[in-house]
């Protein structure tokens, strides 16, 4: 015991000079120093792409560092896998939950360490007891026999935390835990985290939301561009200072946009219904209109039907009832080619699956929706000159940072990948743009750029349907918005300028619901 050195004794995790270069050449961490004291809530802050998640993945054994060393409780460690990290008392709750939807809460919690009866059968009773015992001890209320598919996001997160605690975690890494939570759920989570802290647990809290950090953390480390910008006592640093260190310049958070002048209805959706494979009704009679020249936002906690709505409009799934049309033409039964021919563009939520072909070049990704057009073909052959000109022009217009149009898309950063997607989707002179989480996980510069483009396009006469789990984004960008809860529209706000996020939270959580008349106003029928 090094009792004569209290400071050293105090440190539970120390990472020195961590460097990580991914196989695609992105240096996500460049000599990062990071240390956490026992029993503190330590924020790891930084913009998307700053390297926070990479650093934590290294600590949790999901990624191997290219250089640097890690000490846990003063002992030098190297984690080949999360299993190794868990045996050293490190647990991680990912941003996207790693749960099996068709199993119960208790089954999920004991997965991989299942209690058995007579050495063979799963002891469900014991699993339930174990879950209840831990839930009580840590004040994390969950229903052990509910199926994960049926429980709200807030409870899923508690299940994840319990999973880590039951495996003996003393150090908890939470990756943007509030990203999917409402204001009320966030407050509840914070109470639980403080409770854990009081019992001597150490919490590393990844976030980029300033107000939350000020609220519950003791110290914070700020990262920018793969480097550490220093460690600070939360109480002694101002929000402005944190913001400056995170971004390195003053960010204009609110987008400047003129008043909308909506005209004819472009997208008309009536009575859309969809039931998923676990027999859960994901969309339940959704009706709304999007008009030319306006941005209609779709807010809501993730998993309340947003994804299904977009999938239906772009023929990725078939609805079980309802209609949708663009300028009077049915889109439900049309192929993507036909939908695109109607002037519909989609910035997909899952950009790595739908938005791009990773192993193809930027040029090949840019022309994917227009390569059959006459201007890009000379008889049977491609008109390479026109294709080059088009991709060079779009790379320039959308400030895609790259070596050349021949670079593979997988070599680009997240923000630049999204710019490639947006360059294609926004440049086809669309009448309707469906933007699904258009700025998720990308850097500030690209975010600003994409938001500004969206506003410009809508003011130039495009109809925009903006789906976003980022409350700030959906409230700032939309002219009017609907809130989805449990597959239904819970509220419609004609004017977003006076909206308050606490009110939004109540609708998003299903605590409140507007009357059918109020909601019905989103259908602009004559």
């Amino acid at each position: 015991m090094e009792q004569n050195d209290p400071l050293k004794h105090d440190i539970v995790v120390q990472m020195k000079g961590i460097t990580k270069v991914y196989p695609n050449g992105i240096a996500a961490n460049q000599g990062v120093d990071f240390s956490v004291r026992r029993g503190e809530i330590h924020a790891l802050m930084g913009e998307n792409g700053a390297g926070k998640s990479t650093l934590m993945k290294i600590l949790f054994g999901l990624e191997q560092p290219t250089g640097g060393e890690i000490l846990v409780n003063g002992e030098k460690v190297s984690f080949a896998s999360p299993t190794a990290a868990i045996t050293h008392g490190i647990g991680m709750v990912h941003q996207h939950f790693m749960l099996v939807p068709s199993l119960t809460v208790a089954e999920n919690i004991v997965l991989g360490m299942v209690p058995r009866k007579s050495g063979m059968f799963i002891d469900f009773k014991k699993a339930t007891e174990l879950t209840n015992e831990y839930a009580e001890r840590f004040n994390l209320a969950v229903n052990p026999i509910a199926k994960v598919v049926d429980i709200p996001v807030g409870m899923k997160q508690k299940v994840e935390i319990l999973k880590a605690l039951i495996r003996g975690a003393k150090i908890l890494i939470l990756d943007e835990p509030t990203a999917v939570l409402t204001t009320q759920e966030t407050a509840e989570l914070f109470r639980e985290l403080v409770h854990l802290k009081e019992q001597g647990y150490t919490i590393i809290f990844i976030s980029h939301k300033l107000n939350e950090i000020k609220q519950i953390t003791d110290r914070l480390t700020i990262m920018r561009g793969g480097k550490s910008m220093g460690v600070y006592e939360t109480a002694s640093i101002s929000e402005q200072e944190i913001s400056r260190l995170m971004v390195g310049r003053d960010v204009i958070l609110d987008v400047q946009k003129g008043a909308p002048t909506p005209t004819d209805v472009v997208l008309r959706v009536r009575g859309l219904e969809y039931t998923n494979e676990w027999n859960k009704k994901m969309l339940d009679g959704v009706s709304f209109d999007v008009r030319k020249g306006e941005i209609l936002g779709v807010a809501g906690v993730e998993g309340n039907g947003q994804r299904e709505l977009v999938d239906m409009l772009f023929d990725l799934k078939e609805p079980h009832a309802g209609t949708a049309s663009v300028n009077g033409t049915d889109v439900i039964n049309a192929s993507q080619a036909r939908i695109r021919a109607m002037g519909v563009s989609l910035v997909p939520e899952d950009r790595m699956t739908y938005g791009i072909a990773e192993a193809a070049t930027i040029e090949e990704n840019i022309i994917s929706d227009r390569f059959e057009e006459k201007r890009f073909n000379h008889g049977p052959l491609f008109n390479m000159k026109a294709i080059r000109a088009e991709s060079d022009r779009l790379i320039k217009d959308y400030t895609v940072l790259c070596k050349s149009r021949k670079q593979k898309v997988k070599m680009l950063s997240g923000g630049n990948i999204q710019k490639v997607v947006v360059a294609r989707e926004f440049s086809s002179d669309p009448t309707l743009i469906i933007a699904d989480q258009p700025t998720r996980g990308i850097d500030v510069g690209a975010t600003e750029f994409i938001r500004k483009k969206l506003v410009d396009l809508s003011r130039a006469g495009a109809a925009v349907l903006l789906v976003s789990a980022d409350l700030n984004e959906v409230m700032e960008l939309s002219d009017s918005l609907i809130v989805l809860y449990g597959g239904k529209i819970a509220a419609y706000f004609e004017d977003t300028s006076q909206l308050d996020d606490l009110v939004m939270g109540e609708y998003m959580l299903g605590l409140k619901r507007q009357s059918d008349e109020e909601i019905g106003r989103v259908c602009h029928e004559k």
């Binding site: 270069v21 196989p23 695109r340 989609l346 791009i356 073909n377 491609f382």
Partner: protein
């Protein structure tokens, strides 16, 4: 700079895979042979160097033979390139080569045309039939979701036994001791490219022309583009509005046509009658070639040359030493393994990436400093 390094890496990786494979072969030769050095000499330099009385000389006929052996495998290699680039693991090329050869032979026997056109028509018929046969696994895949790998693999035997049936019962020349067709008309033969009765026919030139055509098709036309994009990411292609089903069918039909053509040219260029009684193996070799060429049509001739050379070397080794010709399977399998293994030398690759990135970062830092001053 970066691209040069990465390209260099790929070359080193390929060379290393071949070296390791030959190393494995050497071990087996030393284990199984009483005269390992002789065996190795035939394997490695035998195909091109003949040694008579202690004097080494370039073996021109041997060289022609290797080129001749490349003719069918260039076609099947190209066919597999097109289909694999579309992410369709279609293996029916093997059976279609046989059908193509058979159909071309029949057209050569029973059609009566002028020199020049006759052979062309025979080969075109083989190509059309090859493309049509490929519709079976392609449509089963697109319409019913049946794995093209399974259906095409089975299809090979359907092809083979159909050919054997018709050969035995309908078209055999009963005057001959073995089962074979009548001789095709002189007008249908594909002539030799070089004097001296070599098997190196004009088919070789046609094969090279098709290398260029397929490279253009894949990289310079909308169809080839769609084939490649669907191969990389089908969901993305569908979302982009491409006709995914039609393109998947197209890729396989093109693959079938190329395979059929390869079979036709091989039969009309090498033989005077059709006498295959089992699958010729060119379809399988095509798979090896496509993997060596990384689905790049322009690299197919190189890969085909390499395989032909290796085959010849193994043949010579089996003939003139005590090592069995099956050795080639071991060597091919070893090369295959190291080429296909993404992680082979991945650590070395990562080092290059780190080095590149460090260099980039240093450059950025230098620029920033320069800008500040």
């Amino acid at each position: 700079m970066r691209n040069k390094r990465m390209f260099g890496f790929e070359l080193v990786r390929g060379a290393a895979a071949i070296a390791v494979a030959l190393g494995v072969a050497t071990i087996f030769i030393f284990l199984s042979s009483k005269e390992p050095l002789t065996a190795l000499r035939y394997l490695l330099i035998g195909p091109l160097v003949s040694i008579k009385g202690g004097v080494a000389s370039f073996n021109t006929q041997g060289f022609y033979n290797i080129l001749a052996a490349m003719i069918p495998t260039i076609f099947t290699g190209l066919a597999v390139c097109v289909m694999f680039a579309n992410n369709q693991f279609n293996l029916a090329g093997e059976g279609i080569v046989m059908v193509g050869g058979f159909v071309a032979a029949l057209a050569g026997i029973y059609l009566h045309m002028n020199t020049g056109w006759h052979a062309v028509v025979c080969v075109l018929i083989a190509a059309v039939i090859g493309g049509l046969i490929m519709l079976i696994p392609a449509l089963l895949k697109v319409r019913l979701g049946a794995s093209e790998m399974v259906t095409s693999l089975m299809l090979n035997y359907v092809c083979m036994y159909l050919v054997l049936h018709f050969l035995n019962y309908n078209f055999a020349d009963r005057s001959k001791g073995s089962t074979q067709t009548y001789a095709f008309a002189d007008t249908a033969r594909i002539g030799s490219l070089v004097p001296g009765g070599s098997k190196l026919s004009w088919g070789f030139v046609v094969a090279l022309v098709f290398v260029v055509i397929i490279a253009l098709f894949m990289y310079r036309t909308r169809w080839g583009y769609a084939i490649r994009m669907i191969g990389i990411n089908e969901a993305f292609s569908k979302y982009s509005g491409m006709k995914v089903g039609g393109t998947i069918v197209l890729a396989q039909v093109v693959g079938g046509a190329l395979s059929g053509m390869g079979g036709g040219i091989e039969v009309l260029g090498r033989y005077t009658t059709f006498l295959w009684k089992e699958l010729p193996g060119y379809g399988w070799t095509g798979v090896t070639i496509a993997i060596l060429a990384k689905n790049n049509p322009l690299l197919v001739p190189l890969a085909a040359f390499f395989i032909a050379y290796l085959n010849k070397g193994c043949q010579l080794m089996a003939t003139y030493s005590d090592v069995p010709s099956e050795m080639i399977d071991i060597i091919q399998a070893a090369i295959f393994l190291f080429f296909a293994a993404e992680q082979f030398l991945a650590g070395y690759r990562q080092k290059i990436v780190v080095k590149n990135t460090r260099a980039d970062l240093a450059k950025v830092a230098a620029n920033a400093e320069g800008g500040a001053e």
